[in-house]
Amino acid sequence: MNQFLAIVIDGIIYSSWLFIIAVGLTLIYGVMKILNVAHGSLYALGAYAATAFGGYWLAQGYPPIGSYGMLVLAAVFVGLVAGPLIERGLLRLMYGKDEVVLVLVTYAVFLILEDMTKLAFGVDPLSIPEPYGLLGSFEIGELMYPTYSLVLVLVSVFVAVALALFLGRTRHGKVLQAVIHDREIASAVGINVSRVYLVTFTAGVMLAALGGALTAPTISVQPGIAAEVIVLAFAVVVIGGLGSLGGAALGAVIVGMVRAWAVHKWPEVELFSVYAVMALVLIMRPKGLFAAPEARKI
């Protein structure tokens, strides 16, 4: 029973983290039909920016509680700088190309960002443990959990609810859904698709960076984290169905729970299990669990 509880709680924490790192990816795909390989690099940039912003804040001797604000600020900063830069400067030249070509384009961006990050922040591991340590831990039964994990869960729920409300309740959200549904009709009825793309991509980058910034206190930030995260994010969004926000949530829960189970019950298959589930879902439902039906061709 105790172990079951531990699996569920670990699963919830891990799922929350996965949702934050994957939701931006599925948002961008849904609206722009771009499977953004560089998503992992933007996550890494967010993590690096968090160490820089947070580090600066703490070095100035400001109250440590403000470092949480700095994590968020780091993500917003990365989003506002990298988002428009990549979308306006590069992706805009590529619209209309094949989806696979766009994957290759973002793969190239991934490669470029890998080295730019190294050039900007060096290759040595960086860290910003204060926001993590500051909160201490709490107990559930006999199990101890860092309170910071609770923050991740809350942020993840907040992001999910905010996105759902935005898409379902606001005018801008409905515009976005129109674009997700049918790009051509959307532009025919006068929606400024170009601007929607810019805003969506920036928001997606911001979410990736937020994932990185919130993770930074729990890991050592070093080269290679981008490549690891992107395949996990792929697994999550592919399981849920590319472009579906609900799918990303479901995918995150599935991957999170499976991994938590593996960690406790069968540690050898921990990494394997995630991709096995991804492959299994793709085999049973080739387009993921929440997929749109296809139109007739002839």
């Binding site: 395949v231 991709y275 096995a276 793709l282």
Partner: protein, 325 residues
């Protein structure tokens, strides 16, 4: 008999075997075998690895001609290397020919099974499922202590088809790679100019029409997938032997990404392109590692963007552009 002769040329497409590509392949074979012994050690090693990688990318070329981009070629590359390595590691077999045969056989066998699934997938879904399969292997190897976990294990060779390598080991291994790459390229060239090869391009353009002519798209894709896996397995085996070490990184998605990079850089215009692309890739990488290790990927990414934007047919299209115009 003689009456039939003029129409014979009309009935049959020009026999493959004497065209320009074949001549260039034979020329490359002769030159490489001749200069091999006089190459400095580092150059021979670099060329050896390049040709092995070219063999892997040759398989990707076939898939790309069929309209498919795999982000999981590392699966077969790694399987090929581990198959060769395992023979040595567990059974003490150190014969190059046997090891390479195992590389190809294991890769092809796994591809036959997975091909039943993957032949149904297209576009990014093909890319993602193949990625998932290679990451499954990665996840397994990383946690398998019998196979050295994340460190992998070493291997060495002693004979080739029973013939002892002795002090000629490096030269003979280089020649082996050259011959394997040559056979792969020539075989692929002939395959591509056959009916089956044309079907690949036809499928990329319009699957519906292929089915409505009465051919099975899935079967063609399945066959091409197995061929491409076998080549990746051979390349993996060759690299494993050349480096004398195998590790799970070979199945990680970034390895597959590098193969994709070479394929895009080189283009799919000719069976020679993958080898040219691999040689350029290895050369630039070797020098970049030496002089500027933190800008290597920056160079790669920028080059890739430039190729996608200005040379969609890859570097090879520079040679063929004049003809097309």
């Amino acid at each position: 008999m003689q009456v039939n002769k003029p129409s014979q040329s009309l009935k049959r497409p020009p026999a493959p075997g004497v065209d320009r590509t074949t001549l260039m392949l034979v020329g490359a074979l002769v030159i490489l075998l001749a200069v091999g012994p006089i190459l400095p050690r580092w150059a021979m090693f670099m060329l050896n690895v390049s040709l092995s990688w070219g063999t892997v990318v040759l398989g990707m070329l076939l898939l790309m001609r069929t309209g498919l981009v795999s982000f999981g070629t590392g699966l077969y590359y790694c399987l090929g290397a581990y198959a060769a390595g395992a023979l040595h590691h567990f059974y003490g077999i150190a014969d190059v020919a046997v090891m390479l045969a195992a590389s190809v056989a294991v890769a092809a066998a796994v591809a036959v099974v997975l091909g039943f699934l993957l032949a149904k997938y297209r576009d990014i879904f093909f890319a993602m499922l193949s990625l998932a399969f290679s990451m499954i292997l990665y996840g397994l190897l990383v946690k398998t202590s019998a196979l050295g976990s994340t460190d992998g294990f070493g291997l060495s060779v002693k004979t080739i088809a029973g013939f002892p390598l002795g002090e000629w080991e490096r030269n003979l291994m280089f020649s082996t790679t050259v011959v394997v790459a040559f056979c792969a390229a020539l075989g692929m060239h002939r395959y591509l100019s056959s009916h089956q090869g044309r079907l690949a391009s036809a499928i990329r353009d319009n699957e519906l029409r292929v089915e409505y002519m009465g051919a099975s798209v899935r079967r063609v894709i399945h066959v091409n997938y197995v061929i491409s896996a076998a080549l990746a397995g051979a390349g993996g085996g060759l690299v494993g032997i050349a480096i004398g070490h195998v590790d799970p990184e070979m199945a990680f998605w970034t390895t597959s990404g590098e193969f994709v990079f070479i394929a895009i850089l080189a283009g799919t215009g000719s069976v020679l392109a993958p080898f040219l692309g691999a040689i350029i890739f290895e050369t630039v990488r070797s020098f970049a590692y030496e002089y500027s290790p933190n800008t290597w990927q920056l160079i790669l990414g920028t080059t890739m963007l430039l190729v996608i934007m200005f040379l969609p047919g890859g570097l090879w299209s520079i040679f063929t552009r004049r003809k097309a115009a």
